[in-house]
Amino acid sequence: MIGRIFDLFSRRIDGPLMAALAILIALGLTVIYSSQGGASFDRVILQSRSLLVALAALWVAANVPPQTLLRLAVPIYCVGLALLIGVALFGDVRNGARRWLNLGFTSIQPSEVMKIAVPLVLAWYFHRHEEGLRLRDFFVATVLLALPVGLIARQPDLGTALLIFASGFFVIFLAGLSWKVLVGLGASGLASLPFLWSMMHDYQRQRVLTLIDPSQDPLGAGYHIIQSTIAIGSGGVLGKGWLNGTQAQLEFVPERSTDFILAVYGEEFGLAGTVVLITLYLLVIGRGLMIAANASTVFARLLAGAITLTFFTYAFVNMGMVSGILPVVGVPLPLISYGGTALLSMLIGFGILMSIATHKQLVSS
């Protein structure tokens, strides 16, 4: 009996991936507790509650066969796009940006839906045209990608727009867009930088400038980076020990339980900790890439590859920003940062990955 229940819950769960995820999530809760000065369980409890919901979502996603996702791709994308247009027209302004849509009973951030909808719809599109991809198909894919990215960038939420763009781009890249086109796109991308610069908001430009020289504005935009690098650097090789990070606990590091949680982690666990963290991420990513490589359909392999590469992007961008080699964009450290929404969309992604990993016999047959 117990064996059958366990089998019901574990049948679609990928063991190695789940193990790595579990370690990362446990590490996250440990550091969230520490980021509150070791004095409050509030955020640990809230995060645990989100975790239960997210794990349930993972299980559901893992049990949804890829064919069902294939059918749902377009509707999800269309709903997401409609919501984004709704935000642009009727959205609530919070912190100077129009990102939230009030549905009466709850507020949602449609850009979160797009994090999954964009790779889904692109994988669906390339799957439909698998019998011979032409340049025209890549053009259509680019339009499908550009619509939500443009709307999100206008909110403005440059960080999320870039990440969603990346997730879509990974699908296009993995689908085999020719190198000529890729190089051409890269070149025109570089050429359009001055134009993009002129489109940016002042604070966004400031962030980029601050990256180049954080000391330029030590009490303003550079403050985050200066404080987080001090915290990480002062941790040394072995760290100051759990709950002993003075910088982070004395509130020098802002947003220390969300986007800048790596500063707390790096200070308390040192280089040893950061290397362990990178290794864990590599395990997750490596397992994801393996699943993608072994997936049996175009849709499944493109989706699995995109989900994995997007996860990598999150981890890299966050660690890069907190350690001062990338501009500050609002990206959480995947599976570690406090925040339920990010955890939810992340685990749904891994659920899809697991579904792809465990459903391939059914698909191919």
């Binding site: 698998e130 019998e131 011979g132 991809l133 990974f170 890249f173 993995l174 689908a175 085999g176 404080q227 690098t229 001090i230 915290a231 990480i232 650097g233 002062s234 941790g235 040394g236 090789v237 003075t246 910088q247 004395l250 509130e251 020098f252 590091v253 802002p254 790096g266 040192g270 280089l271 950061t274 290397v275 990178i278 991420y281 590599l282 990513i285 490596g286 890439l289 993608a292 490589a293 175009v298 392999r301 493109l302 590859g305 590469l309 990598f312 890299f316 660690m319 890069g320 350690s323 001062g324 080699i325």
Partner: protein, 637 residues
Amino acid sequence: MMLGQALRDQQRELVVFRNRLLLAGFGILAAFGILATRFAWLQVVQKDHYHTLAEANRISVVPVVPNRGIITDRNGEILAANFSAYTLEITPGRVANVERAIDELAEVIEVTPRDRRRFRKLQEESKNFESLPIRTRLSEEEVARFAVNRFRFPGFEIKARLFRSYPQGEVASHAIGYIGRINEPDVKRIEAQGLATNYKGTDHIGKLGLEGAYEKELHGLTGSEQVEIDAGGRAIRALSRNEPISGNNLQVTLDLQLQKVAEEAFQDYRGALVAIDPKTGDVLALVSKPGFDPNLFVDGIDPVNWDALNNSPDKPLNNRALRGQYPPGSTIKPFLALAALEYKKRTPEFAISDPGFFTLPGVAHRYRDHKVGGHGSVNLHKAVVVSCDTYFYGLSNDLGIDNIHRFMTQFGFGARTGIDIEGELTGIQPSTEWKWQRFKQKWYSGDTISVGIGQGYWLTTPMQLAAATATLANDGVVVHPRLLKAVQDSKTQEVKALHQPMGERLPFKPEHLALIKNAMIDVTKPGGTAARAGAGAPYTIAAKTGTAQVIGMKQGEKYDEKKVKEVHRDHAIFIAYAPAEDPKIALALLVENGGHGGSTAAPIAREVFDFHLLGKRPAKRQKLGDDEPGEVPPPPQ
């Protein structure tokens, strides 16, 4: 065929996909490699650097400002004290719109127009990140009301601070001085003296008077506290503390009660009075009227009060006792008479017949006496008693300006007395050399004649005149006036009295001194110019009246007090000491535009003497100068 093509396509696609996945894998490894290198750089290579930064970030050394020493008078009455109160301070750099924030604050606690004016003035003078008081001395209720609303006011902070208070208000304000916020010149001076460290955290400094002169004694030594702070700069806990050492307490020579009597005796007149104990040089009273309330300066003076003080025609900020330079008038006649005796230009017996004027041989100009028709036969004694100008015209002409200069310099005229507060002016003790230096002109005999009655180029400060009077009262032992009597060490509570050495004894013949002093005693007797000052006194007063011209009179023009604008009226001057036989107090006083010395100045001196010698407070006062005969000529002898 079709199927095979499709399969081949799919196969090719899978190869492309796997190749690209592999490429992505290498990209990911490279990216994480960069990250790992970055972490290693931060956490291994730069570890010490960041560790130092982290400590600096976390531990802040906060200065602990010492308590300022208090100032008491010679009897222990408090002239300057401290009290602790709450202030509400704003750091303008942390507030987006200061004016609007203050408007909002005004809804919570009272903010007067004066508070705003003062804050604006402070803001102009201060750096943006300095914390500046908007309200001082908050009540407990106001503190509570602000605390409830504090989330609305970032950049605002309640601080408990020590305030200076001057419980005597305007009394003795020129001697005590005041403290004010440290400004740019103060900072430069502090840095030049190498005291910058000791002034960390201190935002007030003594500006004038005793507060300024004894700043170093009063300030004490700044302590420090190592505190662990959070990013908001809030102290979490103190790690170690190096206690500050309070400033020393000062006991000054002033007698507060005497000071009050003297100041009140001036009524509404402007003027100055310096009373000295001739045996010690202790300044018993130092009056400059009008005064100002030093309390106005403590939290930073607001522009309206500042303009009122600074632009008042009465110049309340001007310390007339030290900085007022006036012609001494007839008050220098006793000194000149002594000079004539010492230089053997006159004998006590020598007498002139005073026609009411003096002429230099071969010059038509008549130097008039204040008494039309003259004083008749006048010897040296009578010349002092009746203040005979004619006698002194001739006397000074015979002495010559350089003898006068040499003699008077011994009494301290033309030089600072060295009183231990700053700002004293020297006055002018003219000489041929001085005139040449100053005007590139030679000295004329006529110049000497004017000097002979304390006019012309001669200018003196009330402080100088008081010190000279005290020296005369002290039989020629030079008196150096001073205000600091004793210092109480804040640590040991030990009181260290300061004994200022008396000056040299000037080599006057005792019989000459006796003659001059007798004449000065007779000045306060019936027939003398200050007869009323001495009337009914149970002790003897030696004195001399004087009048200092404010505007010159043309030849033949008659000075009529009623016709002259108040500000052009003569200054009344008076020097005196008592008891004449054993002087305990010597003073000089000046009433600006007070007319003749006998009518307005002498009664003030009498009240001061009565209080100091008899402990008698003045009865209800008559208006100064009313029904007074002025310099009444004595009946012909």
